[in-house]
Symmetry: C2
Subunit: 644 residues, 2 copies
Amino acid sequence: MTSSIQQNTPVSLKNVVIDNGFWGARQANNREHTLPAIKHQMEITGRVDAWKLDWKPGQPHKPHIFWDSDNGKWIEAAAYSLMTHPDAELETYMDSVIDLIAAAQQPDGYLNIFFTAVEPQNKFKNLRDWHEFYDAGHLVEGAVAYYEATGKRKLLDVMCRYIDTIDANFGPKEGQKRGYDGHPEAELALVKLYHATGEQRYLDLSKYFIDERGQQPLYFDQEAIARGEDPKQYWAKTYRYCQAHIPVREQDMATGHSVRAAYLYSGMADIAAETGDEALKKACMSIWDDLNEHHLYITGGLGPAHANEGFTVPYDLPNETAYAETCAAIALVFWAWRMFKLDPDSKYIDTMERALYNNVLSGVSHEGSHFFYANPLAAFPNVTPHGQWSGIVGDRDYRRSEWFDCACCPPNLARLVASLGGYIYSTDTDTLYVHLYASNHAEVEVNSRAVKISQQTDYPWAGQIRLGVDVDQAGRFRLGLRIPGWCRAYTLKVNGEALTTAATKGYVLIDREWKSGDEIILSLEMPVERVLPHPLIRHDAGNIALQRGPVVYCIEEADNGNNLANVIIPQDARMITTFEPDLFDGVSVINVEAQRSTTDWKGGLYQPESAQHLTRVPTAIKAIPYCFWANREPGEMRVWIREN
Amino acid sequence: MTSSIQQNTPVSLKNVVIDNGFWGARQANNREHTLPAIKHQMEITGRVDAWKLDWKPGQPHKPHIFWDSDNGKWIEAAAYSLMTHPDAELETYMDSVIDLIAAAQQPDGYLNIFFTAVEPQNKFKNLRDWHEFYDAGHLVEGAVAYYEATGKRKLLDVMCRYIDTIDANFGPKEGQKRGYDGHPEAELALVKLYHATGEQRYLDLSKYFIDERGQQPLYFDQEAIARGEDPKQYWAKTYRYCQAHIPVREQDMATGHSVRAAYLYSGMADIAAETGDEALKKACMSIWDDLNEHHLYITGGLGPAHANEGFTVPYDLPNETAYAETCAAIALVFWAWRMFKLDPDSKYIDTMERALYNNVLSGVSHEGSHFFYANPLAAFPNVTPHGQWSGIVGDRDYRRSEWFDCACCPPNLARLVASLGGYIYSTDTDTLYVHLYASNHAEVEVNSRAVKISQQTDYPWAGQIRLGVDVDQAGRFRLGLRIPGWCRAYTLKVNGEALTTAATKGYVLIDREWKSGDEIILSLEMPVERVLPHPLIRHDAGNIALQRGPVVYCIEEADNGNNLANVIIPQDARMITTFEPDLFDGVSVINVEAQRSTTDWKGGLYQPESAQHLTRVPTAIKAIPYCFWANREPGEMRVWIREN
């Protein structure tokens, strides 16, 4: 038995059934509403029929270069759902989609809707902008998931063949192009394909993409010249946009397009974990620290700027104009999970949990069929009741959309929610780690021993988690329970007996002989926290946020009226948490004895302070979980609330 | 002699010489640096040679549809300068430019660079988007000014001929198009042309443009259909953008592109004043109130949004992303001046003065040859020392530019500064009004009597103004001295004797027999005011601004270090005004005994408040006039400063 936390292996979501509770409801919603809504949109927008490759100019539904990836993520989401909730009808339907995809594969193995049906002459001509490997990567992820869910190899074989084609064309050998994708994604997908097939060449190809990225001479320059373009005319102005400005091992800052970034960093972490590459691990850790120290919203959102859908400068975290793309927070979950494998420390899971409970879930409506692309931390509608602009950029009413032309977020969200069971547990040789708390029962193997573990909890609304252990035969192994970073006091009992073991890197390691019926009760104190922003975040200066457990709260006009900039939560404000069973099928809200800055305002927009009578009146304010905002009448919203 | 304030007539800038002081320095700078810089840019960008109409595809300097207007404003600026500061070399040069323009006029009177040299087939095809009347209007303004400055009619005659061509083609008669320009400007220019020539048809054409605007069927719709376009595909989505969504007399809100708006409203005020049209006057007053009550920055800036370069919804006044185009504040000066004529009340001059001393002058560097298009009220550079983004939208270093592709602002600013003398005085039958305070001497006619008036003052750095009256023969008339809206106490002495007359609509009317040597001393108390923002301006909640006299202040990194969001000016902070003779050739700065919120910050971006040690340390802060910001090392800037 080792004394420290080792590199470890996730427990497959196939072995984890989320029964009920918060994530049970989210997953049911995902199955019953989100997946059908995505299926409907995939069909009516032509994304399924596009595989027939029969689009002709002038016809509707011109295929887009991203459509393969939408299919890939959708198949992956369906596959994860099938793993825990078999559905013959859904499986038959997905088989039919896979048949279409397989039939679309070209004799040489190539597989891409747009570059077969629309612009075959441009195949592999612009990896920088045109997402071919990104598309391939998502289809690979879908294929692997579908294979794992159903045992059916058809799509997996198709994708192996396509990847082999890419592998033949790209690489360091004579006659090969030294290319990699402007939108990283294939890197992490290829590691999955390696694990699913055991074929080393897929790992090697992923590593090649990682190694080659940003090397001189820059492939994107050469490729542009080959197209007859001036590389300096690159629309995004800098290869920082796609994290290809310097070799990845020299990178130490989160930069560029945030989804590309987090997918790349996930792939880097995968390769570092697979190969033990210390330079790559160091780069991952440096970038991780930069993200967490300088660029992360309290909601787990990342990439504040619309212009590049990505990162800007340290501490630049505007609220109302925050981009904070749903996909970026999802990609952060992937990256965080891989970082833990590389460097077992609960700080990664803390960030993962922050993203999950806040920015990720903000991406989908409570009823499950409408989606946000951007997830701002403050909202001010420009339509009624405040006024009607109808300006060039259109109305800003903060309602989620049924779909997007660039539809990356909805299926991304669906696949993450469907696979949430896969993020709860992991094991190393002698330890079973519990990372997330959610009612579930799971079957795992620790120390070559089959262990059944279960959780019952109202988390994140309450901090008590009851864990049950069931083993065929009593035996020794370690149980590692994560003490979340937000938690500042907890108690732990095993079979009623208090345990005071200190946490190691955020995990209390309970090393004992376990027998069936053992019960662990972990009670995490979960008061409302007044959270201060770092002093260098200028947008939040003078404000606080409310957080309880992993859940960040916001105030909405639906509960509190408008003009939320005048709400003040003094340092001594009383705050009471109440569970409201009828709100969003049950959430904990925070009732705050706050104040409103009011004034019997006289005159125009700007007045001498001495001429105005300023007062503060007590006001009851209700804060709701940020992830459920914008599910009622459109109106103002704020996460950061004035303290003075 | 009347008992109230009457509609009145400006005293021409030809009769007003600004001697020295604040505006003397600004005008000298304008003559010596701004006008030569504009001349240089006009030449090197091909805007002068473009009149030769010999541009061919593939050549550099392809003419732009705005270039005529750049020429018009530049000629106008030079003309105003010549009125008070004759300059034979400049006049000869401008004559040569005018020769080029005259030679470019087509046999049918048409005159436009782009639609003669580049796209003749598109002449008068898209008034909505292509600015032909806007171009004509600016050339008319230049022609009128040059005629008034030099007596030379060449350009005036050219423009009369072109306007006659427009007049023949557009109007209500059979066979005419019922058009008006998407970018208003010609409306106010035609009123100037009417006054310069005495030709009623120019006033009528202006009135026609005003009357027709927004009438059904909408001309822009018909024009689009005639081009084979679907009017619904209008790129700006709504004719609110160009204030043509409804007839102007039904408009009561500031809307759309802010420069278009303020030019239109200026033309409406002109026509209302010329014709006594009460419905038009009412619309002007309603829109004015809407602007001042809902849409005006404290700097006199207007139009917060980059997307439409214009207005959004009430109280939407973001600071860091403020557009607040230099041209919009300039256009507001024009409009305000016309509103006073329509409705004599110093509130219009208050707004005019706010725009002049703040947003307008922010548009030009202190040395005079660099310009801002947008004038934000808070700045946070994304380049060193805070970091380097080099994102898609480029570096944001808040340095003024030498020029712009769309170069509306520099010559607009030059013409306003050169003509400032024209905004100081006006007269009605028996009264001489003093609107602005600036060292100058002027010759005016009041009650058919020649009066010399002079001002000596350090305004806006000090509130004392010494006015001298000189008349050939003693005589009775009224002198109306404006008491600025910002001023809450003042004393007034005539020949040493205190006067306590109350102000009427912001003017103290001194009705007496004046003789040469009479001296008036007006002392406006000018303390630093802590200005509160309207409670509905969410961006400013919890902040104050500092204003002294008409001058709005800001704090800059060059004086105060970075992280200005942590600067707090408590309610009882001591503030001392100091004149710094060496800073920007002499400005009053405000030294504030402020505080900085500091913390021995531990941990990442977000921390429980209870875990941080927050303190406030006394800090000496120096505020400078906003109009002089961004003249030193690039860095942070804030107008609105935390109070708590």
